[in-house]
């Protein structure tokens, strides 16, 4: 990718950061929290796709990373009985 595009992407990331900072002070806590995390996912996607160049990697690299995410879901459901229901 050309440096100009990389710098433009950096500017978009900073814009998204400012947006999430503004949302942090919005009164609607539930909606702002959801939007803040949607923005965080978008930022992570942009960094992963373009800075880490996942967009140009073969499909099985994504599966390797998804393996880690699947482990997290397993961990999540394994911990729910102890943390949420066990109190």
């Amino acid at each position: 990718m050309k440096p100009k595009i990389l710098v433009a992407l950096w500017a978009v990331l900073l814009f998204l950061l400012s947006l999430s900072l503004l949302l942090g002070f919005w009164g609607n806590v539930v909606l702002s929290t959801i939007l803040i995390f949607v923005i965080a996912v978008a930022k992570a996607f942009l960094v992963g796709a373009y800075y880490m160049r996942l967009k140009w990697e073969p499909w099985y690299i994504l599966w390797i990373l998804l393996g880690g995410v699947v482990c997290l879901f397993i961990l999540y459901f394994a911990l729910v009985p102890d943390i949420i229901r066990g109190r």
Binding site: L14, V47, Y51, I84
Partner: protein, 195 residues
Amino acid sequence: MNHAVSHNSSVEVPVWRLGIWWFLASEIVVFGGLVVCYILYRFNHPEWGMEAGRTLLWVGSVNTVVLLTSSLTMILAHYSIVEKGDLALGRRYLGVTILLGLLFLCFKGYEYSHEIHAGLVPSRSLFWGFYYLMTGLHGLHVIGGLVANGVILGGLSQGRTPHRIESIGLYWHFVDVVWIFLFPLLYLASQGGAS
């Protein structure tokens, strides 16, 4: 380097890059495990909103800008060295990345010192235990990245062509991605109404 590889192609990935991706997948489990535990406990502890409101939002925000900028200089170093073959320019970008990483740690040190003086220590509550554990582990990763970047910069100064810059670049961006999630979890999501 050919970046025009189709997403669905069966082009071989070099073993070293495959290794880095496996390593990063394992890091997802390490950081993700902490994040999952934090979120689950957060549901049970609405008072954590008040605690999170005591973190220094401005330091966290500045550190986010610093890390995002270091990611940019890291990818520009990669571009300069691997795609343009300009070692001198790549060395400069890598130097700036290291300086930004050090700046991040300085801000973090200031933040820790401020919080410890205010009595916000890990034993105060589970929130602060998670806070120090997650940011501390992230800080250790930043230190690891700085050491690796320093080694590569040293190699560049001796005129060696480092294809390893791509590996450490992936690692550095991953550390950035982790911070992208830690920032709203620990600093931001509570500011509105301290739910």
